[in-house]
């Protein structure tokens, strides 16, 4: 089976620093891949290049039969890659429902004229957007529905913000979901819930998932394959057991043993 996302020889430099340095990376259909590495290893930069936030310097990126090189973030979203951010980035002054509705933007089309005239097709599309957004919010149980729909995103509790960010990404109807440290700032119980949630995202919605994570419990609990980065290079790849016992990985995290 050909991979859903295939990155070959990807490099990104900032001045003299090679943030991502010749990385080969793939994610298959229905797979959950964990990306680990110490701070500054280039994990988030990898996400940023793949989603078009930064242009790549070298290498090719292919997704679902399309080249991603040179595409803008909005075009890449349209192709079916959605992401969350390391520091939660919601639209704070919009309501929960509106945040999720924005996610539907890529999948809908009505424009100014449609909005002003509010004819049948536009109204139906608007209803469809709302229904879709509500469906994604309902995925998180009762955390984001009911009266919370009309709360501002900035009024939500931290864990619910994380949830909403995922719901918003889901509303873009992606094939591949990139989660950037979804467990950051969560307590042990919330982390357990998160592991279940990520599994449900794959099983029930059929997304392929790549997650950057520092929390090894989360990574080991969910990832079928783990990729370790250090100084922008891939230093190990395999199952969690393989990667976690890899000498270079241990070295990268703990320093060289003398």
């Amino acid at each position: 089976m050909s991979p859903l996302l295939e990155v070959t020889g990807l490099s990104k430099r900032f001045g003299g620093v090679r943030a991502v340095d010749g990385v080969d990376f793939r994610a298959d259909q229905g797979e959950i891949v964990g990306v680990i590495g110490p701070n500054g290893a280039g994990k988030t930069t990898l996400f940023n290049v793949v989603t078009g936030f930064y242009p790549s310097d070298e290498g090719t990126m292919r997704f679902d039969g399309h080249s991603l090189n040179g595409l803008k973030p909005n075009q890449i979203t349209r192709l079916g890659i959605a992401r969350t951010f390391q520091a939660v980035r919601l639209f704070p002054a919009m309501t929960v429902l509106e945040n999720a509705m924005v996610g539907q933007h890529a999948r809908t089309r009505s424009g100014v004229l449609g909005a002003v005239l509010a004819l049948g097709p536009t109204r139906r599309e608007e209803e469809h957007i709302q229904a879709q957004a509500r469906e994604m919010l309902a995925f998180f149980g009762d955390r984001l529905v009911g009266f919370r729909e009309d709360q501002l995103a900035s009024e939500l509790a931290y864990a619910d913000r994380r949830r909403l960010e995922i719901a918003r990404a889901m509303a873009t109807e992606p094939k591949l979901l990139l989660l950037d440290e979804p467990a950051a700032g969560m307590n042990p119980q919330e982390k357990k819930d998160l592991i279940q949630l990520i599994a449900r995202l794959r099983d029930e919605r059929g997304y392929s998932i790549v997650l950057i994570e520092h929390d090894m419990a989360v990574v080991s609990g969910i990832s079928e394959r783990v990729v370790a980065l250090d100084y922008g290079r891939k230093i190990a790849e395999g199952t969690y057991e393989e990667v976690s016992s890899n000498e270079r990985v241990i070295e990268a995290y703990l320093g060289k043993q003398k």
Partner: protein, 603 residues
């Protein structure tokens, strides 16, 4: 070093001194003298009771005493103490003024001031305006006593509970405004065929009139505060459909009122209304760019100018398009009408403005926030300089602009009448408001909002930032150009000077004051910032002062604007809301099990 704690008494004295100094400043700058003949309150026979000059002093003392008696968040004085503080503040203010007068008198009479004394100071001091013409001794005593009395009155406002305080204060301000707007209101009321002798005498409100105005305003407000919640609650309980019927019929009533307004209000007001209307149009347009899309455009006047100039070129007989030689704007009388009529010109104007909006928008797309503001500022100036330049003089008339000759073509002639133009502007405003209203909650509006909140994330949601920025610029430009077209027709001429930076700033002030992103806010903002100064012509010199004071006051006390959209209120008062939520949750705790049980049953 320990910070000094100011006792309430100390604060009251300091505030009193400040009030006194403000009073002295008003007197020394000639403002007391200038308004000494303008009555605010008169007897039924038109004999002055209270002049505007004293009203100023009175307001200063009232405000100071009110402030002093309010206390601070740490110190809440008891009622008797409050009155005492008010009396102290007012008395101190009066004493400061009296002391100043006495000192000046001593200096002048002792020959110690050798420079010439301005007539302003002489009139205030030597002719004893500040001392009510009663000499130093009695005058000073009166001043201090009056200050103390006013202080007591202002302080006693604090003794009322909130529901009573508001009607009282609003009633007071309304009465004052009715008095100040005498030139305008009298004309309107007399235009209705109603005698105004009971209300106005020799330029001021009669005592009876003042009482009636106050009672009516305060009474209505009291009724609303008592019953308003009930009414609002009842409206909220109506089914959605009935509620929307109610809302639309309110809007329809309002529009109906607007339709009859010019015939009620007369020529002068109609003229002001057209000016307000043009600003509402500009505000609605800029509201889309700044309020919805979050693009701070300081060169918005450029599109206003484009609208005005294109209209002038297409419809004025003095336009180069009409002149056969096509060169000189000095030869005014070549054709007997403009190149085309206004109705044909209007769509051309809008389309051209939209194109220019996109052209200006394109190079600044990458810029965000402050940078965008500076660059658009530059573009606005470029348009004005171009228009004024010798280079484009053959077509745009340079500094002389383009002037419509007096014998203007028929289609335009009708529009030069304020009442006719008013209806046209009203139609355009309604259209622009409708477009804004429909856009804000649509897919387009959400894309703008997302872009305003976080541009990169918006892009990651599949929103083409370039497309939506250009769209906002284009729609904003189109609406502004309509305003420009009406402006050209209204004034009958276009000059580069009409399109200075200050117009952009005014429009921005209108939407900030009204409430960013709020359509009614734009309307209210225009009325307050453009309409009121026009209507208070008498105080023409003070218009900018008034303008500045209003802006400062509103930004301090109502940072979300006069008629904010609900979302912004929540954003700016998030802290209060959180507290309220905690309070609510604490109250709900006992009922919580029942609530959750009911909730899970439903599923």
């Amino acid at each position: 070093m320990a910070e000094k704690v100011r006792t309430p008494t100390r604060r009251a004295v300091i505030i009193g001194v400040i009030a006194g100094v403000v009073g002295i400043y008003l007197a020394a700058t000639g403002n007391i003298l200038r308004f000494h003949t303008r009555n605010v309150l008169t007897t039924a026979d038109g004999e002055g009771i209270l002049q505007l000059s004293y009203t100023f002093l009175l307001l200063v003392i009232l405000a100071a005493a009110y402030r002093a008696a309010r206390g601070t968040s740490e110190q809440q004085p008891d009622p008797a103490r409050r009155i005492g503080l008010g009396v102290l503040t007012g008395g101190v203010a009066g004493a400061v003024v009296a002391l100043f007068v006495a000192a000046m008198k001593a200096l002048i009479e002792g020959g110690l001031i050798v420079t010439e004394i301005t007539p302003e100071i002489r009139a205030v001091l030597l002719d004893d305006i500040l001392l009510f013409g009663r000499g130093l001794g009695a005058g000073s005593a009166l001043l201090i006593g009056l200050g103390a009395a006013l202080g007591a009155v202002a302080a006693s406002v604090h003794l009322l509970d909130r529901n009573n305080r508001r009607p009282l204060m609003v009633g007071f301000v309304a009465t004052l405004l009715v008095s100040l707007m005498e030139p305008l209101l009298r004309v309107i009321i007399e235009g209705l065929g109603v005698d105004t002798a009971w209300l106005y005498q020799s330029r001021g409100l009669t005592v009876t009139g003042a009482i009636i105005v106050f009672v009516v305003v305060a009474g209505l407000l009291t009724a609303w505060t008592r019953r308003g919640d009930l009414v609002r609650e009842r409206v909220r309980q109506l089914p959605t459909q009935q509620r929307s019927v109610l809302r639309w019929s309110t809007i329809a009533l309002f529009i109906l009122f607007l339709l009859f307004l010019p015939s009620l209000a007369g020529l002068r007001v109609s003229e002001v209304l057209t000016t307000i209307g043009i600003y509402v149009l500009l505000g609605l347009g800029l509201n889309i760019v700044v309020g919805y899309a979050g693009l701070l455009d300081l060169g918005y006047v450029a599109f206003f100018a484009v609208g005005a100039y294109v209209t002038a070129i297409l419809t004025f007989r003095s336009s180069f398009l009409v002149s056969e030689s096509g060169v000189s704007v000095a030869q005014l009388d070549l054709g007997d009408k403009g190149f085309t009529n206004f109705w044909v010109a209007l769509p051309i104007v809008v389309i051209l403005a939209v194109i220019i909006g996109v052209l200006i928008g394109a190079p600044v797309l990458r810029l965000r926030g402050d940078y965008l503001a500076i660059v658009t500022l530059g573009f606005g100036e470029i348009i004005r300089v171009l228009v004024a330049s010798d280079w484009l003089r053959p077509w745009l008339g340079g500094a002389q602009g383009i002037i419509a000759p007096d014998d203007i073509p028929p289609a335009t002639l009708e529009l030069r009448k304020p009442a006719n133009l008013y209806f046209l502007i009203l139609a355009a405003v309604l259209l622009a408001a409708f477009i804004s209203y429909r856009l804000v909650d649509s897919r387009v509006g959400r894309a703008w909002a997302a872009m305003r909140e976080d541009e990169s994330v918006a892009e990651a949601m599949g929103i083409s930032v370039i497309k939506y920025k250009l769209l906002a610029f284009a729609i904003g430009a189109g609406i502004a150009s309509l305003g420009g077209a009406f402006f050209a027709v209204k004034i009958g001429s276009v000059f580069p000077n009409s399109f200075k930076l200050i117009v952009s700033i005014n429009v921005l002030a209108v939407i900030i004051l009204g409430g960013m992103g709020s359509i009614p806010g734009v309307i209210v903002g225009s009325i307050v910032l453009v309409g009121l100064p026009e209507l208070l012509r008498e105080f023409a010199e003070y218009r900018l002062l008034f303008y500045g004071a209003i802006l400062v006051a509103i930004m301090i006390y109502k940072p979300e604007g006069l008629v904010p959209n609900k979302r912004r209120v929540r954003e700016l008062h998030e802290v209060d809301e959180e507290e309220a939520q905690f309070a609510k949750r604490a109250g709900e705790d006992t009922a919580a099990p029942v609530v959750t049980a009911g909730g899970s049953d439903e599923k």
